[in-house]
Structures are given as structure tokens and as C-alpha cells.
């Protein structure tokens, strides 16, 4: 510059002062908002990353919610199955059946039959437990009527699952389909569809079909596989025994009772297996829950890492900016201090 003029100096000073003042303002905003950036344009890369992490965070929390709900449902299911297995099947029905079959004091067969019947009814009631407003063991149709119902058809008690007779061989296909029902939930296993079809390993099957636990259909002997139906049938046989002597109504009844008691034991084993499997799934859900909680925490930490300032460095920056600003102000005081005119006489 050839000449540094009065106004040139002033203009330069004003422009520099404005910059210094802006720098203080920016540093102050950082301290006050504790954000590394307050607009997207300030740091587009960081803002994009933060929004991406926030989406992942929101997903993880939604998945955590779903997993927690599902875990509670599965825990309730486990409790229900435990009651069915331990209290009713093992503790009540099996003992009654064995007692009725082997007890020397056979006159008690009829009351034992009644115990069996009430056990069967209790199983039905337990298998109709609700979680929230849905029936835990309702499969894919858990928001309608209670899935298990003991209906009397032609004087005989018939157990139905969602309106389908559980022991009728004619319903085999429908029952099989209901037993295999799946209703998937996103629990953070990477929900994926290929051509509109869900990749089943990418979600968790949350449908619990009651008949898959307590059995359905008939076996090669024509006996029901369903635990409650077996109990009901045993109860019917015991009910036919002589009230005083407890004698079997027929040899066939005796034979049937013996065979059915064996099958009841088998079905208890089966429900034990199912219960163990369900317990395994519940554990998986608990693990998922922990994993998602951890993921959510990690994501939150990452988001804060990007968005939040390191307060120590922000305050240092602010102090430095403030110091520069003060220095600039001090210079300003002397910018117009003297000229030759002030020394003229």
C-alpha cells in the first residue's frame, strides 16, 4: 500500500474488529450451547454422521422396546407352562392317573377322574392367559376370543383351539398350520426383506401357538396327543368305574387307562422339552435386551461425542477469543489518537 490513510486505517480496523467480535461470539455460543456446531453448514460431515447415529439410536430404542415387551410375554408364557407342567400335569394329573391305575383302594377312581377333569380345565384356563389384551398362546390370532375352549358336543367334551377341534384327525392340516404360525418382530437382528419376503432369520418369531405346547391331533392308536384331552379322556374312563368298588367298566377301559397314563407321561416330557426351548428363547431375548441397551448407550455416547463440545477446550478457545477481542479494543483506543495536526502550533 502506498499511503496508509486515516480512513483506510479505520476501515481495516473496523473489519478486523468485526472478525474478532464474530470469533468471540462463535466461541461464546459453543460454550453456551455446548454444541460443536449450531447449524448444519458449520460442519456438514459431523451433522450428517450425528443424524445417522440418531436414526440408529432411535431404531435401537424401538427394538429394545419390542424386545422388552416380547421378553415379558415369553416370561409369562414360561410361567404358564411351568404351572401346567409342574403343578397340574406332574403334581396333580399324573399322580391322579397313576393312583387311579395302580391304587389298591380302587374305589377312589371316580373322584380321581374328577381331579383329572379339573386339571384338564385348569390347563385350558392357564393356556388362555393374557398378556395385555392379547392371549399369550393365541398364535397369530391372539386378539379375538380365548383360543382354547372346552365345548360339549353331543354330550362329549371336545377341546377346540381357535374353533378347531384339537383331537379331530380331519383337522390335521389346519392344526399343523396353526401350530407352525409365525409372527415376526424386529428385535435388532437386521430386519431384511428380499423381494417382499421376510428373511426369517432377520427377525424374531413372537407368535406362541398353544397347541404346539400341549399337543394336537391323534397318534397311531387314535389317542389324542393333547395333554388336556388325554386327561379328559382318562377322567371319562375313571368316571365310568363303579362308584363303590371302583371296578373298570370294561377291560378295554382298563387297557385304555393304562395306555393313556403312559401317554400322559410322554406328553409331560414333551411339554418339558417345549418349556426348555421357550426358556432358551426367553434367554435369547434377555441377551438381545442387554445387547440393545448397550448399543443404545454406545450410540448415545457417540452422538454426544460428535455433537457436544469438549468444555475444557471450548472455554480455552473462548478465553483466547475474548483476549484477542480485548486486545483489538485496546488498539482501537489509539487508532485515531494523534496526527501531525495535534502537534501543530
Amino acid at each position: 500500500m502506498i499511503r496508509v490513510t486515516t480512513n483506510g486505517t479505520l476501515r481495516g480496523y473496523k473489519s478486523s474488529l468485526m472478525r474478532t467480535s464474530n470469533a468471540v461470539n462463535l466461541a461464546r455460543t459453543k460454550v453456551l450451547t455446548q454444541s460443536n456446531y449450531t447449524t448444519y453448514a458449520e460442519d456438514p460431515a459431523a451433522a450428517t454422521q450425528a443424524f445417522k447415529l440418531r436414526r440408529a439410536f432411535s431404531r435401537a430404542n424401538a427394538q429394545l422396546d419390542s424386545t422388552t415387551t416380547l421378553n415379558s410375554k415369553f416370561s409369562s408364557a414360561c410361567d404358564a407352562l411351568k404351572s401346567v407342567k409342574s403343578d397340574l400335569a406332574d403334581g396333580q394329573a399324573k399322580i391322579s392317573a397313576l393312583a387311579g391305575l395302580n391304587d389298591a383302594n380302587a374305589s377312589g377312581r371316580q373322584p380321581l377322574g374328577e381331579v383329572l377333569q379339573s386339571s384338564a380345565e385348569s390347563i385350558v384356563q392357564i393356556m388362555n392367559s393374557q398378556y395385555g389384551s392379547s392371549f399369550i398362546f393365541g398364535g397369530k390370532d391372539s386378539l379375538g376370543d380365548a383360543p382354547f375352549q372346552m365345548q360339549t358336543v353331543g354330550g362329549k367334551k371336545v377341546l377346540t383351539y381357535r374353533g378347531v377341534a384339537v383331537d379331530d384327525p380331519a383337522n390335521a392340516a389346519a392344526l399343523k398350520a396353526m401350530a407352525g404360525e409365525a409372527s415376526y418382530v424386529d428385535v435388532g437382528s437386521g430386519l431384511t426383506e428380499v423381494d417382499g419376503e421376510l428373511v426369517s432369520s432377520s427377525a424374531f418369531n413372537g407368535a406362541l401357538s398353544g397347541i404346539s405346547f400341549i399337543g394336537y391331533g391323534v397318534d397311531e392308536d387314535g389317542d389324542p396327543k393333547n395333554m388336556a384331552s388325554i386327561m379328559q379322556k382318562l377322567s371319562d374312563i375313571f368316571g365310568r368305574c363303579d362308584a363303590d368298588t371302583g371296578a373298570w367298566a370294561s377291560d378295554q377301559d382298563k387297557e385304555d387307562a393304562s395306555r393313556l397314563t403312559e401317554k400322559l407321561t410322554d406328553s409331560i416330557d414333551e411339554i418339558t422339552n417345549q418349556w426348555t426351548a421357550l426358556d432358551g428363547q426367553t434367554s435369547y431375548l434377555t441377551t438381545s435386551e442387554n445387547r440393545l441397551t448397550e448399543l443404545s448407550d454406545n450410540l448415545n455416547e457417540q452422538i454426544l461425542g460428535i455433537e457436544q463440545v469438549d468444555l475444557a477446550s471450548a472455554i480455552t478457545d473462548f478465553s483466547w477469543a475474548q483476549y484477542c477481542y480485548n486486545a483489538a479494543l485496546k488498539v482501537g483506543n489509539s487508532i485515531l489518537s494523534q496526527s501531525l495536526i495535534d502537534y501543530m502550533n
Binding site: I2, R3, V4, T5, T6, N7, G8, R11, G12, S15, T33, S35, Y37, T38, T39, Y40, A41, E42, P44, A47, A50, F51, K52, R54, S58, R59, N61, A62, Q63, D65, S66, T69, L70, Y131, G132, S133, S134, G138, G139, K140, D141, S142, L143, G144, A173, A177, M178, S183, Y184, D186, L191, E193, G196, L198, G206, A207, S339, L340, I341, M344
Partner: protein, 625 residues
Amino acid sequence: MDITTFGAFTTARLGIYAAQKALNVTGNNIANINTTGYTRQAVDQVSLRVGATNHYASANGGVTGSGVLVTGMSQFRDPYLDIRYRNENSSVGAMDTKLGGLEELSNILDEVGKGSEGNEGEGVLAAQFQDLRDQLAKLTGDQSTEDEFLTLARSSAVSLVKLMNNYAQRLGEVGKNQANGLQKDVSSVNDILKNIQTLNENIQKSEIYGDSALELRDQRNLKLDELSQYIKIDVTYEPVSVGAGKTVDKLVIKTSDDNPITLLDGDYAGQLSLKANDLRKNPAYNPDAVPADTDDPYLDADGNPTADANAAAKLPYALTLSELKNRNGAALAGSEDYQFSDTELYGSLQASRELLTETGEFTTADMAKMDADATTKRGIPYYQNALDSLARKFASVLNAANTGYMYNSAGNYIKTDGTEITDIHGDPIHKVEILTSALKTELDGAGGVPLGGVLFSNSTNGDDTSGITAANISISKSWSTDASVLQNSFQALEGKSTVGSSDNRNILHILAQFDGKQDYKPGDMVTDAADGATKFFSGSFEEMFTNIEETLATDTKSTTTLLDNYSVSTTALDSDRDSVSGVDLNDEAMNMMQYQKSYSAACRLMTTLDEVLDKLINGTGVTGR
């Protein structure tokens, strides 16, 4: 001829006069130190020598000068610095206007640090997308047909579309503000041109009378600086004869372009007019020609003349310069109306035009022909289109996901009695992800069971899904009256023709759509887009929104940096100009002392002469008295 005896007094008088004048100018400089645009002045003075050498010249001694003459006042100004300053200034104008527009857009679209109380930073629209997804995810927990949860999901969707409507409406307002701003800028440019025209006239008059009209020139330079923000200009001064051998400078302002257009020529000035929707005119066409011009009046996108207004290229927010006229309304010979092409101008007017017109990836084939860079320039319409594109994609994907026919566990479409629907070959028809209208007709005809329905439409009054934009996207009438239109599944229970009450297959499918990637193509929004079929983004709905924000942020960031650079250069150049033209108190103090001394010296000369002559007149020839 030598100076006469008393001529020396004239020398002293001229010296006093020159010093007095110089002190006046110094005073004027000091007084105007804070006047914007004031240029430091100086006295032009020459040494006077009366007469010339001839044969009457005295043979005694040499020839002496006769003092000093003040010939006028002049300014210290460097025209090259003016040119550089004005060039930079047009860049400052362009970037400043662009940044202003982008910041207005950012106020709407930038969601950094926004969000509900306690959740600042999660965004607004971004957070609403997440909320809707959360509500849908809740339905998968054996609640897929529960009214209270279905209503919650619908309420969340209502908030989402309302936010989109609000964003679109506010983007529209930015557009309106910008259009008003451009109109005001055009008026300002016209005022400046008129002002300069008047100043030119006055300067010229003054010049004829021998006054250099320095103050008027300062005013004119200020106006030129101001004009340079709006339009990049070239300023030239051409000498024009005003008769009697006298010439004055004529100022000419042209646009700085390969094809310079004269905005002002001395007393003649043009006026700009703005037309929101104009057709591209053929510059060769003269509407006033008699007989009628054989040239076609319009140009198509390729630049070929055409007489068909429909074939003419569209030129939004076109600026047209009127023929140049003087203040009496007389037109300059050869001057005619001129319509600026799409990319001809530079400066804040053009930046404002670009904000109003540029559509980035959504550029039509025609516009792309007129501006090869159009697909990378993004103004307000780009952001409107991008948001519309998101709204349309969101609606179409979710509508498709929620519309279908009942099928069985084998995946084949069934009738109400549960039997499978067969095609003409007797084979069952397997379900498809997206229904074609042909298949729909076939299924309707064969007794298929339609389920679900349209979730989003173009108004709340019906289920019409055509032309959905961010401004009109709404919850469909059917969904708004029945929350269960959100279909939980299309699969019938085994052996039945009803869907399981807690079957959430379709809800999960919709969730998968939220997480899946969608392709966004310009052709979805603009039928005649230059790159209609080329996807410009692929990602989830939320990623698309972040992409819009990111695009805006990156543009804002680079514009801020450019503006910063140009501003620094402009400030530096202004200081450079000031170093030449500015008043400096030290300088003026020196001048004051200098001229005061020369004034005193001239006065002393006069006293000396007086004493000398006193000796000659009163003290000579009196010897012995």
C-alpha cells in the same frame, strides 16, 4: 517581453492566490474526510511565463517566469483499482444474495439443534419419521389390530404430513420473498441507471463550462460501485466533441460478458424489466420493423429461431433491457429492447434469479440445453422438488405396501370362500409385492378380497394419490375415518378367509420399507427432466431428508467461504483505493503548513517589492538634498 516594473506584484498576487486556493482545497479535503465516496483533491498549478521570445526582448539578462497559475482542481483516482474493485464487488453481491437465500432455506430445512424439549438435536421432521416408525413397531407387539394403537400410529402419520405441508408452505414463502426481493433489486438498478444518467448530463454541462465537477464524479463513482453489486459491469469513458474544439468524456456502462450489452450510454439509459414467465426471444427479431421482420420472434432451447410460441424455450424470471432513452424520451439510434439469456448476467440480480429458478437434478432437458451447468445449480425450486420427491416416494411406497388382496399360507390369492384364484391356465396366482393395475382388475374380476387401502393421498377429501407433493400430502379420507385401514396382514388364517388378529406381517413389511433403500429419480417429479431416469439418491426416507439438509448445508458452507474471500478482497481493494483517493490527516497537515508558508512567502515578496520600489521611486535622484 519581460515583466513590467509593477508586474512583479502580479507574481506575488498569483502566489498568494495559489496558496489561498490550495489552502481552500486542503480545507475541503479535511472537511470531507468522512464523506462517503469523496476523492482527495489537489490544485493543478502551472508556472506562468508571459509572452514568448521575440526580437523586442530585452537584451539584458535572461527570461524570468511571472508566477504561478491555478488551472483547476483534480482528483487522485486509479481507474484500474475501480475496475478490480467493481469486479470483486459483483462477486460479493452474487454470493451475498445467494447466501441470504440459502440461509432462509436453512431456517426451514436445517434441523441441527432442533427438536422437542430435552431432545434438541434429534430434529423435527427427522424425529417425526422416527416417531411414526416407533408407533408402527409398537403394533408388532401383538397389538396390530388394536384400535388405540392404530390411532396412535395414524396420529403420528398426521403430524408427519402436516410437518411436510408446513415445510413446503414455508419454502414457497421463501420463493415469494425472493421474487419480491428481485423485483426491488430491479427497481434499484433502474434508479441507479437513471441517477447516473442525470449525473452524466450535469457533469457534461459543467465540463463544457470548464468545471471538472469533481463532486458529481464522486457521486457517480459511488453509484457505479453500487451498480456493480447487482450486475458485473464494464465502465468506459469515451471523448466526445462538443464543438469549438472542446471534448468532454462520455460514460458508457456495458455488461461484462463475451457479448457486452450497453446499459447506459452518456445521456441515454436503459431500464430493466422482470417477467416471471417469459419466452426466449430472438435478438435478431425487430417487432417494430416495417415491413414486418422476416426473422422469427422466438428461439427454442437449441437456439434455433421459431415462430411457434409453444416451441419457444421458456425463460423464467427473464430480465429485459429497454431501448436506451434520454430524459426527453428520445431513443438512442440503433438501440432496441434486449432480453438477457439465462446465464448472461453475473452479480446479485443473477444470483437472485438462480435462487428462483435453478432446479439442480430436476432440470428439464430444455433448460439443460440453455445452461450446461444447470443440473448442478440448486435454488429454491430444487429444494421444493427434493422435498416433494420425498413426500411422493413415501406416500407411494407406503400406499403400495398397504394395498393388496388376501392370500393363503401358500402365498396364492384366494376368494372369500378360501379357494384359490386361478389364471387362464388354471394355475393359482401367486402374490406379488407391488400390484399392477392389470392384476388388480384380474383379481377384482375373479372375486379376490381387497384389503387395506390407500394411506396417503393428495387431499384429506379423498383417496386420490395422483400428484402428491410435500404441500398437499395428507392422510387419505378412508384412513382418517377408519384407523384400521392400516392393514396388519394380507395372509388369511389357514382354512379361513380372515386375517389373524395379531398377525403383523404387513406392519413388519412397512417397517422394512422405512429401513430399506428407495431410488429417487428426477423423472418421478419432472416428466421432461434432462436426466429423468438417473437416480440422484438412493436411501431410506430419513436418509433422503438428511441428504436434502446436507446438500443445502454444503452449498451454504461453500458460499460462506466464497463470500468471505470476496469480502476480504473487496475490503483490501477498497483500502487500496483509499490509499490513492482517501484523505489523510497527516498529508493535509503537511499541506496546511506548506501552503501557509508559501502564502506568507508570497506576502513577504510583496513587502519586499514595495520596499524596493519605494527606494526606486522615493529614494532615487535625490542626492545631496
